[in-house]
Amino acid sequence: MEKRHGRSRTILGGLTLVSVLLGLYWGLVQAPPDAYQGQLQRIMYLHIPTILTAYLSFFIVFIMSCLYLWKRDRRDDILAYSAAEIGVLFTGLTIIEGSIWGKPTWGVWWTWDARLTLTAILFLIFVGYLILRSLIEDENRGAICGAVLGIIGFLDIPLIHMSVYWWRTLHQPPSILRPDKLPWENVHPSMLIALSINFAAFLLLYFYLLSLRFHVGEMREEVKRMKLYGGA
């Protein structure tokens, strides 16, 4: 059983590697430089996939937290915890990529624009989640408390979103998914291809990391069981 899982994980890892390399090639070589931003725009091929996978991650935390409270299956909680960890990683990366792009484009590393602020708050909420988990020793208690934070945090996102948007907006409006035009009319087709490949690559990378982290969580669980019951 475990052997088969291990093999499918290796295959997933191989696919991830290939698609990341392919994505880099399309993003750096095949796609033309942007008409206004030049080479700088290429960071978008990483920036958009990272933030989308981070959002996906927080959605998974929410779903798994609900499932855990309902069914009390330990594996749901391990998955929620794993997704939160990787979500924090990807949100952090998004902020760093954004800063690198923002400095030459806007002239500042950081600005209190709505979308930036929202991302930073998400980052803080889920860092709080990780710290909460690390400070509660009892496992079931930690799982329940984490699940509650996962659910409340997710429910809060639309409200935070609304409030920071009313507060201020400076970020670029979305340039690909616009209501007035079809996606392929807004950008050069090879840019769209580069973005799609990178998005697929990040999804694969995300699920690869998630399965690794989930596996670590399961092993931890097993070690604890063995310590409790003295082997077997």
């Binding site: 409270l69 708050i121 803080l124 909420i125 709080g128 989640y129 710290i131 909460l132 400070l135 509660i136 020793e137 009892d138 079931n140 208690r141 329940i144 408390c145 699940a147 509650v148 934070l149 659910i151 409340i152 945090g153 429910l155 809060d156 409200l159 935070i160 609304m162 409030s163 920071v164 009313w166 507060w167």
Partner: protein
């Protein structure tokens, strides 16, 4: 109705304890006053700039004193296994949640009732007739703070370093409340009424309703964990 009756007994218990011990209220009140002094030393505002700084400073003072109260909220239950006894009693867990939200709300409102006029005195503001409106906004914001604060006070109750952990979790979640109250107070102080800030008030009300419901539903799991 049974729920409200149970909750009112619990509120009575907490209020009686507070009246006899006078721990939270006195500490919160003097901490709030102390903060006003610290703000004054930190910013040294000329009189005409006070109205634009007031909402932010006031709400900061409420946020900090409220956190101080929240870290003590479940202290009576932690001593002598009182929580176990409460959970053993034939009582709805949601009643306990309602009671704690209400109790914390009362504590904070009493402090705010004193700190608000004190702010007007210390910072030489003369818009006294706007105070009731400001207090109403503070009430809505404080309700939102207590609704989530009580829930996460229970969540962090059994964690290590819980006093440090609580604000760390709570403050990012409170961003909508913080923004909405401060903007509404600004509008009131600038234009004299809240009609320009109706969207913010709706957001604030929505926050209160959504998380009171959510807290009501999940509190049972948290307190039994």
């Amino acid at each position: 109705m049974e729920l409200l009756r149970q909750a009112s007994w619990l509120i009575w218990k907490d209020l009686l304890l507070e009246i006899r011990r006078r721990e939270s209220l006195v500490t919160m009140f003097f901490f709030g006053t102390l903060l006003l002094f610290v703000f004054h030393f930190a910013f040294e505002m000329p009189r005409e700039r006070a109205p634009e700084m007031a909402p932010g400073l006031l709400w900061l003072a409420f946020l900090f004193t409220g956190t101080l109260g929240l870290t003590q909220l479940f202290q009576p239950e932690r001593e002598n296994h009182c929580l176990d006894a409460l959970l053993l009693s034939p009582m709805d867990r949601a009643a306990l949640y309602l009671a704690k939200v209400f109790f914390n709300l009362v504590l904070m409102l009493v402090v705010e009732l004193v700190v608000l006029p004190l702010f007007w005195v210390l910072f030489n503001l003369d818009s006294w007739r706007l105070l009731p409106a400001i207090f109403m906004v503070a009430f809505l914001g404080t309700l939102g703070f207590c609704v989530l604060g009580t829930l996460f006070s229970a969540v962090t109750m059994r964690a290590r370093a819980r006093e440090l952990l609580l604000p760390l979790i709570l403050f990012p979640l409170m961003i909508p409340v913080i923004l909405a109250t401060i903007r509404t107070m600004e509008v009131i102080l600038r234009s004299g009424d809240a009609s320009e800030a109706l969207d913010w008030l709706r957001l604030l009300l929505g926050f209160d309703v959504i998380f009171l419901t959510a807290g009501f539903l999940v509190f049972e799991w948290v307190i039994e964990a």
